[in-house]
Structure formats: structure tokens, C-alpha cells
């Protein structure tokens, strides 16, 4: 039986999209505390404002992250959500699950929490919503002992890394995203669980430039798959596309009225570098001009495949707008080979080069992209010990304000004004 009247929320039970209101009611039949989620949310719908207090530091012994404290500001009316802490559980790479494992998580959350979840949080974790403080340690004990799983990150630490599903089910992935993600997650358990950074730090791993985990938009280190050699062409399949025997773009436009496939209009003319053309019935690509954007491969997946010499571009410093404005990640390493054979030591060395510097110079709550802005990209490139290359910039600077160094100028900066005056009267 419903504990509170929720006339506003009840209006979100109709319509074709799955209703979170119906779902919370379903859970409330099992755990009556969930009626208070609906009761407090209904109050927010009436008042048009949140009823959660600011913060509250809670956690499990030895960890500085993984739990986010949350308390109701109307606990007397809604005692079931008086404490409503969030637990972040590190998701498995690529978010595959066995039902056995998912049921295990459900059973633990039934025992210790509200039974409501987010599958998943924006960063990637399994988010378990609503737990009392006294249940946190027992939950953590069961999570580690029964399921053999661990918490993710929160606060000024390495946040839970995430990846696109990569080679597990995608023909375009240029490296094993889920293995890199898992390996680095295990390698950096201390950095995930114990905040020691100026601010949050995120890794995301996408297998190709389509970037299905939005790495370039939201991660401090974005590892995005690419290749060095030539796009692999199956000319027989090209002919089949032209003949209309294979549906273009993998069938992604099937319900629109776009007419017959036109390789000139849909592929060649849309190539951002103009590096493709037809010679007779053969598709030609000047691969030295290609920037590997993925468009032609997206449109003709059975005819075109990424090259076979594969690796990743590594970009640094993306973030959402708070505070200085949104930033995309800046291309720093154009091509890096990623191999389990060396346990990704080149990527690890690169990451730790950033951390050693950022932990020294980064200000409190300054993302590494903001530190890069503050000190300038030239300084960052020098710190990382890299050669400056034109790929680091969209265009060269248009002002002449170069910070020349003393040693770069013959004779240095020290001069004698007395000597100068002997030749130049004031």
C-alpha cells in the first residue's frame, strides 16, 4: 500500500517509455522505505527544489572514496530516506554481466540498501542508491567476501576507468579496450580508493574515433584507437554497395526515405580530407592524406576496415565546464602501440609522467586540463619530455609573444646598460 499520495509522480506512469515511478513502487512493495523516496520526490515536484542536504562524509575504513554521503532535509516526514548514501561499485569492463553475478549484487543490495540502483552512473560504476551509515561496513564486507568485488572512485582520486566494448563485439576497435581498462584499474587500486590528487582524474578507453565512451569529451586521459597503415579495402564488397546489394551504413538509415546509395555523394564527397576517388569501379584512397575519421568505414563496414597496424591516439585534459569552460582533450601522443605483452608500460609511464607533474603544480580542485591551460601547452609538452609537433595544434599561434629563454639568445639576457649608453645617448 502506498504510504504517501503522489499525484504528480503518478502522471509519470503513463506513456511508452519505461516509468521509474512504477519501478520504485514495485520496489516499495518489497522494501517499504522506498515509499519515502517517492514521498520526498513528490515534495520536490511540489516545491520545485531538492530536499537533500549538502554532503556528509561517510565511507568505509581505509578508503577515501566509493561512498557518497546523502541525508534528507525532511527526515521526520520521510524516515526511510533519512540516510540515503550512494555506493559506487566498480563495474566490470564493457559492462557484461552473468545473471548469477547481477543477482548476487541484487541480493546484497536487498540485504543492505534500498534496492534502487543506477545501471550505470555517468563515469561507469554500478550505482547503488540509498543506504544507512551502519550498513556501509557490512555491505562492503559482503561485497568483497561474497562477490569478490570492490568499490569505485569518488573525490579527488582516480575515478573508475571505463571503456567501449572494443574488440569483444566491434570490428572497428584498434586495441583491446577492456583489457587495458581492467589492467589499469587493477594497477591503480590505491589511486582509485585513496584520494591523493588535486582533483578528480579520469581515464576512458575508446576503440576507434567514433568514441562510444565519449573519452575525448570527459576524460583527463583519453585513449582512442587508430591505425598507422592503410584502410583495408575489399573491392568486391565496394561493388556490392554500389549495386545496392549491401545496405549502406550498416542499415542505420533503414527507415528514412533517402533513395539509392550514392558512393560519390555519401562517401567520397563527405570525406573531410578529400582523399578518396573512383578509378573505374575501384575505390581508391590516398592514405597519406587520411585523418582516420571513420566516416567511410561507418558507411561501408563490409568493404572498408581500419588498417592492420593498430594502436591509439592519446589525448589529455578534457572536462565539463566548471570552472573555466568545457575542454576537449588535446592530442598529445598521435600514435601509441598498446600491448599486453609489455603490460601497457608505455601508457603507464605516460600517465605517471602527468601525475608526477600535476600532483606538484596542480591547484586544489584544478583538473589537469585547467593546469595545462594555466601553464600553457608548450610547458606541458616540455614537462612530458615530448618533441613539439604540428599535430599538437590546430594552427600555429597568431601572436608573436614567444617566451624566449635566456640560453636561446646569443649572449643571454644579461647586458651592460653603461656600455649601451656609450654608443647611444639617452
Amino acid at each position: 500500500m502506498a504510504k504517501h499520495d503522489t499525484p504528480l509522480l503518478d502522471q509519470l506512469e503513463s506513456g511508452p517509455w519505461p516509468s521509474f515511478v512504477s519501478d520504485i513502487k514495485r520496489q516499495a512493495e518489497k522494501n517499504p522505505d522506498c515509499w519515502d523516496i517517492l514521498g520526498q520526490l513528490e515534495l520536490s515536484y511540489t516545491d520545485k527544489i531538492t530536499h537533500w542536504k549538502h554532503g556528509g562524509i561517510v565511507g568505509v575504513f581505509g578508503y577515501g572514496g566509493g561512498i557518497v554521503g546523502r541525508y534528507s532535509d525532511v527526515p521526520k516526514r520521510f524516515p526511510g530516506v533519512e540516510h540515503f548514501h550512494t555506493v559506487r561499485v566498480n563495474q566490470p569492463s564493457s559492462k557484461y554481466y552473468s545473471t548469477e553475478n547481477l543477482r548476487g549484487i541484487c541480493d546484497l543490495w536487498e540485504k543492505h540498501g534500498s534496492g534502487m540502483t543506477n545501471m550505470h552512473g555517468s563515469t561507469g560504476d554500478i550505482i547503488l542508491l540509498g543506504c544507512r551509515t551502519e550498513e556501509l561496513e557490512p555491505f562492503f564486507y559482503d561485497l568483497t567476501h561474497v562477490l569478490g568485488q570492490d568499490l569505485g572512485g569518488s573525490g579527488s582520486n582516480l575515478r573508475t576507468p571505463a571503456n567501449c566494448l572494443g574488440q569483444s563485439r566491434c570490428e572497428w576497435s584498434c586495441y583491446d579496450t577492456e583489457e587495458v581498462c581492467y589492467h589499469l584499474t587493477m594497477h591503480y587500486q590505491d589511486e582509485i580508493h585513496r584520494p591523493a590528487f588535486p582533483y578528480k582524474f579520469k581515464f576512458k578507453f575508446s576503440g576507434c574515433a567514433n568514441d562510444c565512451v565519449a573519452a575525448i569529451a570527459r576524460s583527463d586521459v583519453a585513449v582512442i584507437g587508430t591505425w598507422r597503415d592503410d584502410i583495408r579495402i575489399d573491392q568486391a564488397a565496394v561493388k556490392e554497395y554500389i549495386a545496392g546489394n549491401i545496405v549502406s551504413n550498416g542499415g542505420a538509415h533503414a527507415d528514412g526515405d533517402w533513395g539509392a546509395f550514392d558512393i560519390q555523394k555519401e562517401v567520397i564527397a563527405l570525406c573531410p580530407t578529400d582523399c578518396m576517388w573512383m578509378e573505374g569501379d575501384k575505390l581508391k584512397i590516398d592514405n597519406s592524406e587520411c585523418t582516420r575519421c571513420m566516416h567511410c568505414i561507418n558507411v561501408m563496414p563490409r568493404a572498408l576496415r581500419p588498417g592492420a597496424h593498430q594502436g591509439a591516439s592519446v589525448c589529455v585534459g578534457a572536462k565539463a565546464p566548471i570552472l573555466d569552460g568545457a575542454q576537449f582533450a588535446t592530442l598529445i601522443v598521435p600514435f601509441m602501440e598498446l600491448s599486453k605483452d609489455n603490460e601497457f608500460e608505455n601508457l603507464i609511464e605516460f600517465i605517471e609522467g602527468i601525475w608526477d607533474w600535476w600532483m606538484e603544480v596542480g591547484k586544489n580542485r584544478e583538473r589537469v586540463g585547467e593546469t595545462m591551460q594555466r601553464v600553457g601547452l608548450p610547458t606541458f609538452i616540455k614537462v612530458m619530455g615530448l618533441e613539439p609537433i604540428p599535430q599538437h595544434v590546430r594552427e600555429p599561434r597568431s601572436n608573436p609573444y614567444v617566451f624566449w629563454q635566456d640560453e636561446e639568445v646569443p649572449g643571454g639576457f644579461e647586458r651592460d646598460v653603461v656600455e649601451f649608453r656609450k654608443k647611444h645617448a639617452a
Binding site: 566490470p92 547481477l102 540509498g130 557490512p138 563485439r169 542505420a252 533503414a254 566548471i322 568545457a326
Partner: protein, 375 residues
């Protein structure tokens, strides 16, 4: 056995990380990892991946509310046990993917999903609207300027036809963040729904001493609007802060640092709409979303103004854009002045940037189009 509160460190296990991913691969995935040749979307919500071994993985993509109960997850498990050998996955955009290893197993799965009411909508592939990534909103967050789950439900109900079909010029990614912190990273979405505050923070002088480190609160303001001040509480002078409201841009960063500076407000808060962002590098480089509607009110439970605004932009784009053109690519081709004219969205001074790097967005060419903005 189990946790012993008297001896919390006994048998303690830490830093074991997530479960090893490969244990959760369905057999067809485990066998064909790294061997996939191509894929095809055979109908909205159904993908077929072909391996060089000849194997096929058929995936049925299903929308979910993101905010889901363990009862719902158990039902998902029941479906995966019945059809998928006990495996499934979730996508970055909160969809569920049920995978089977042959075509003849797809229809029984689709029939089962359809028999369960509105809980498991199939779609979210190709040139359509897939699931909205979003944040917590009023259901769980302390800083939101709007709800998340309710707005998303209202928008997806209205755009449902675009979730279950692939008739748009390109994929359209919609995202919602309930405040400027943007836990949902909406700054690179085709259409972004963003909760915004419009009133400066209040100062709770009675609480500030206990809960706030004043230098951090002062340093948190990107525009230097938070200054040290003194106030009298119970006849005693205390150190506190004041806010230069002319400088405040309502980012809420001070409240994040100082709980004694709340800024949420029923009338002040609402939604801004930004459009034209993208993450993918395909064709054009990634783009930020641009602010086109500075404010729409919070009107729970169904936010009709926000829903109408998004539907209008989506359908204007659908009618006018070329095949493969993302919303931002369309707006840049026709010009932003044409975007405002075609969408019949009033252009206001609030869409002109006056923050850092603003100059990059000012027009420094004589090339423009004559639209109804030029009187």
C-alpha cells in the same frame, strides 16, 4: 560469519578491483573477440555482428530508465536466462543488450520483451534517438537545478517514435545534466538539457563558521564575486563572506565548497537548452553544444515547455538536414542565424558569449545570411 562490528579489521579484504570482465562474456563473444568482420542493424534495436569464424552475434538493444530497481534487474536476468544463456550487458547510454548466437533466437526474445508491457522498449540504434544519459536530479542530488528522471521520462515519451525507428538524418544524442557540474557531461551532445540556477547564493551566517573553510569558498568563485566579510550573530562578530551579485554567473561552485551558501530556488531554477555538440570524430571534429534557449521553467511532472522545445529542434533538423549530418554540422552548414530562424527560436543576448575565450565565437567576417533578425 560476516562483518563483526567489534573487530572491523578482521578478515578485511581491500583493493581487489572489479570482477574480471572475460568471465562475463557470453560464449559467442568469448569465442569471437577480435575476429569480428562487420555488423548490420537488421531492424531498429537489432544488431547482427558477423565474425570471420562464420559465427553471428545477434543483439537486441532495450531502453531502460537508468534509475532501476533490483526487482527490475531480476526480471532482466530472467529474460537473459531464458534466451541468452545467462549473460547480458549494459551500454554507456543506459540501454540493456541481450545477445543470442543465431537469428532464429531473435524473434522469441523480441516476443518475450513485447509481452512485458512498456518495461523493455526495443530500439536506440542507427539514425534515431537513443537513450538519454542523465544525472540524479531531485531523486538523489544536493545541488540540482531541475529533476533528471522525470524530465527524461517526459522527453522520451514524446520522442519514443524516434527511439524505435531510424528515420533521422543521423544519430541524435540527447543528454541531461541537472546542474552546471554536468556529471552527465552534456557539453558535447546533439541536444543538451541543462539545469541552471538564476539566483545568487544566500549566506547562512549562523552556519558558515561550523561548516565552511572561508578561504576555499572565496577561492571557489571563478569571477572573484565571493569576498570576506563580517556579520553579527547573537551579538558576536563572526567572519563570513558576501557575494557581489553583479558578478555572479550562478555556477554554484561556491555551494559545492560551502554548504552555507545554498542557491537553489523554485523560481530561479530551470532548464537551458544547448545544441549541436558531438563526441565522434567522424567527418567533423568533436564540437561543444551551444546555448540556444537560455531558460525554460521547471514545470513538473512533465516539463511541457522543455519537451516542446526539444521536439521542435529535432523535427526542424529532421526535415532540413542532409543524410549523415549531425545537428551541429547542419547548424554550421546553414549558419546559426538560419538555425534560429528555421527553428523559430528567439535569439537573445544571452546566447552571445561574454565568458572566457568568448572572442572565439564572435563573427569577424562580412559573410552572413539575411534572416529575419536583420530589420
Amino acid at each position: 560469519m560476516g562483518y563483526d562490528p567489534a573487530n572491523p579489521m578482521v578478515d578485511r579484504i581491500t583493493d581487489i578491483g572489479p570482477h574480471y570482465y572475460a568471465d562475463f562474456h557470453p560464449p559467442v563473444i568469448a569465442k569471437n573477440k577480435g575476429k569480428w568482420l562487420y555488423h548490420e542493424i537488421t531492424q531498429a534495436g537489432v544488431l547482427m555482428h558477423k565474425s570471420e569464424t562464420g559465427d553471428e552475434c545477434w543483439t537486441v538493444r532495450v531502453g531502460a530508465a537508468r534509475l532501476i530497481s533490483i526487482e527490475h534487474i531480476r526480471e532482466i536476468c530472467e529474460i537473459a536466462d531464458a534466451h541468452c544463456g545467462g549473460f547480458l550487458r549494459f551500454t554507456t547510454r543506459n540501454n540493456i543488450e541481450f545477445m543470442v548466437d543465431s537469428k532464429d533466437k531473435v524473434q522469441p526474445l523480441l516476443d518475450d520483451l513485447a509481452s512485458r508491457g512498456t518495461k523493455f522498449p526495443v530500439g536506440g540504434t542507427g539514425a534515431g534517438v537513443t537513450n538519454i544519459v542523465h544525472t540524479q536530479g531531485w531523486v538523489h542530488c544536493h545541488t540540482p537545478a531541475t529533476d533528471a528522471s522525470g524530465v527524461v521520462k517526459a522527453v522520451m515519451d514524446e520522442l519514443f517514435d524516434y527511439f524505435t525507428s531510424m528515420k533521422l538524418p543521423a544519430q541524435v544524442r540527447i543528454a541531461l545534466a541537472c546542474c552546471l557540474n554536468m556529471c552527465g557531461a552534456v557539453h558535447a551532445s546533439d541536444i543538451a538539457i541543462l539545469g541552471v540556477h538564476r539566483k545568487p547564493p544566500m549566506i547562512d551566517h549562523t552556519r558558515i563558521t561550523g561548516v565552511c573553510e572561508l578561504p576555499l569558498a572565496i577561492a571557489s568563485c571563478p569571477l572573484g564575486a565571493v569576498k570576506p566579510a563580517k556579520a553579527e550573530i547573537d551579538g558576536k562578530e563572526i567572519k563570513t563572506v558576501k557575494v557581489n551579485v553583479d558578478r555572479c554567473m550562478f555556477c554554484g561552485n561556491c555551494y559545492t565548497m560551502c554548504p552555507a551558501m545554498p542557491l537553489a530556488d523554485p523560481d530561479g531554477d530551470g532548464i537551458a537548452i544547448l545544441v549541436g555538440g558531438k563526441v565522434s570524430n567522424a567527418k567533423s571534429a568533436p564540437k561543444f553544444s551551444k546555448l540556444v534557449i537560455p531558460f525554460l521553467p521547471n514545470t513538473p511532472p512533465r516539463w511541457p515547455e522543455t519537451v516542446a522545445a526539444i521536439k521542435n529542434i529535432l523535427e526542424t533538423y529532421a526535415k532540413d538536414a542532409k543524410k549523415y549530418e549531425r545537428v551541429g554540422e547542419w547548424a554550421e552548414r546553414i549558419g546559426w542565424e538560419k538555425f534560429f530562424e528555421k527553428c523559430n527560436i528567439p535569439f537573445t543576448i544571452k546566447s552571445i558569449d561574454d565568458y572566457r575565450l568568448a572572442y572565439d565565437t564572435w563573427r569577424t567576417t562580412t559573410q552572413f545570411k539575411y534572416t529575419n533578425h536583420i530589420k
